[in-house]
């Protein structure tokens, strides 16, 4: 079943239990429609909608493929340097684009680059997936857990980035180091002479397709960044900044509006709404309280223990299930623990533990994130099948290392 269908089914079930079940058994009156709507974080929904419109137009310019090709040129056939540049490029790109978009734009060209230099595509693509999950944690728009928790805390774009940057930069460098070590044999076997015909073919697929649109998108991107920055002065929510940027671009570029609206991925937005309602029902039913109490019993009054538990539990769960429903469900647990543990009351430690755990944990298996599944699908389309175990060989090492970095940082910081 599609994830959005499952989320909507859950939301509808919550309402039917309340209205129909509650008619016969009052104990089943858990959450009515109006209460459920209050659980939907519209700031999250509109931030994602705004970025989606903006990125749909930005990605049409061909800029990301061009950047990957520039990386190829810059490396001058050095497979190691190329691997390093692609990892860092993916990490930075996924800070501003969601992982699925970043990987859909970068992975096809990376597979072609790998084949041109005679390196197995796993050596570039799997590290790119790992870098995307880590890089996504660096900004409030990079990965859904960052968006959900960051907006819940009322953090601005730069406020969030300043807090996340040290952990993400160190983690990204660790991903790069581990990837180059894990793929040392493949990289060492790269071709010394490249086929001019293949390089030409590669370049043809990496042209800027719409220069005027690119110029406009860059200008509006800078204005949006300014709004994110100014938003912290004027209490402007990031969703308003993102929607302003998207609207400016729509007014300036004048795209075919019906087509533009068809390109917006409504399934994702309804997935979020469905999950918010479903988790609201679960929370009202007392399940979240029970889980929070179980974690509080394990941690006692120790913020350090609770932080470690939150990082690693979030990492483990996000490694096997989608981190969006997990984050929405774990957020009220972080709220309850932050209120019940005295040292946590004035700190955001448990929320950051949730962000890093949910974002970095997505690297554990290929089921851990939609971006992972997209990259695996693209590799299969090029004739390279990644097995569950094959992905986990790299994912486990990188997840453990990056969760360790996050844990150490949070214990020092808080």
């Amino acid at each position: 079943m599609h994830e959005t269908s499952a989320a909507l089914l859950g939301a509808v079930a919550v309402w039917l239990v309340h209205y129909i079940g509650g008619t016969f058994f009052p104990a089943l009156e858990i959450i009515d429609f109006d209460e459920a709507m209050a659980f939907v974080d519209w700031n999250v929904v509109f931030l994602i909608l705004g970025m989606m419109i903006f990125m749909a137009m930005f990605s049409e310019t061909g800029i990301f493929r061009r950047l990957a090709f520039r990386a190829f040129r810059l490396a001058r056939g050095n497979a190691w340097l190329l691997g390093l540049i692609l990892i860092l490029l993916t990490g930075v790109t996924s800070s501003f684009l969601n992982n699925v978009t970043a990987l859909l734009l970068l992975v096809p060209l990376s597979i072609q680059i790998a084949e041109t230099v005679g390196v197995h595509p796993f050596a570039y693509v799997i590290p790119e997936v790992l870098a995307a999950n880590v890089g996504g944690a660096s900004t409030i728009i990079g990965d859904p857990p960052s968006t959900i928790v960051g907006l819940h805390l009322g953090l601005g774009f730069f406020e969030y980035a300043a807090e996340a940057a040290p952990v993400v930069i160190v983690s990204l460098l660790i991903v790069a180091g581990l990837a180059l070590w894990l793929y040392r044999r493949e990289l060492a076997g790269a071709k010394q002479r490249l086929s001019p015909a293949l390089v030409t073919q590669l370049e043809e697929g990496a042209r800027i397709t719409d220069v005027p649109l690119l110029r406009k998108a860059v200008v509006v991107g800078l204005i949006t960044m300014f709004l994110f920055f100014a938003g912290e002065l004027f209490q402007l929510p990031p969703s308003v900044g993102a929607m302003t940027g998207a609207t400016l671009l729509i007014v300036w570029v004048r795209p075919d509006m019906p087509r533009m609206m068809r390109e917006v991925d409504w399934t994702t937005l309804f997935f979020f709404i469905g999950i918010f309602v479903l988790v609201g029902g679960v929370e009202k039913a007392g399940v979240i309280d029970w889980l929070a109490q179980a974690i509080a019993d394990l941690a006692g009054d120790s913020l350090s223990k609770a932080t470690v538990l939150m990082v690693w539990l979030s990492g483990a769960v996000s490694g096997v299930v989608d981190n969006i429903p997990y984050t929405i469900a774990a957020l009220p647990i972080a709220d309850l623990l932050s209120n019940s543990i005295p040292a946590a009351r004035d700190s955001h430690a448990l929320y950051w533990a949730l962000i890093f755990g949910a974002d970095f944990g997505g690297n554990l298996t290929y089921l851990g994130g939609a971006g992972n599944i997209v990259a695996i699908g693209l590799l299969a389309q090029a004739g390279y099948r990644v097995t569950f175990g094959r992905f986990m060989r790299d994912g486990l090492v990188v997840t453990a290392a990056t969760l360790l970095v996050a844990t150490i940082w949070l214990l020092i910081r808080y």
Partner: protein, 140 residues
């Protein structure tokens, strides 16, 4: 002169299949067509914003894979044609075989745990092609 269709993606297994198709084209004096089927169905079950033109990305990747195959064929003196289709692999191979008047379809034999298809699937697919088109099928 007949026409050979070789459905290909990329990777080591595909290179073996391409080599076998090139050898058959030389031996029989047939025309050779490499086919890439861009199938975006791996996106069907994920709830994440897909704002990229996926078909365009897959087209470009397919064109590159076919250029690799064409280069291999050219090295052996065979001028191969290429074609890209969108949709499900099985349906598109059958449709291409019919439209292009194909006399022989060359499919790769699945090798090892990382193969995209298993052997039983491939044999069933070969039987389906022979039943629904006038082409012969060889699994190489």
């Amino acid at each position: 002169m007949g026409r050979i269709l070789c459905a290909t993606r990329g990777g080591e297994d595909s290179k073996r299949t391409q080599q076998a198709a090139i050898a058959l084209a030389k031996e029989r004096g047939d025309e050779l067509v490499f086919l890439y089927v861009a199938d975006a169905s791996f996106l069907d079950n994920i709830a994440a914003p897909v704002v990229v033109d996926v078909q365009l990305e897959l087209d470009q990747m397919g064109r590159f894979q076919l250029a690799l195959a064409q280069e291999q064929a050219a090295e052996q003196g065979v001028a191969a044609q290429i074609t890209i289709r969108h949709g499900h692999l099985h349906a598109e191979v059958i449709a291409a075989a019919r439209e292009l008047g194909i006399s022989l379809v060359v499919l790769g034999r699945p090798q090892g745990p990382t193969a995209i298809f298993d052997e039983t699937d491939q044999e069933g697919f070969a039987a389906e092609i022979e039943e629904r088109t006038s082409a012969e099928v060889r699994i190489v």
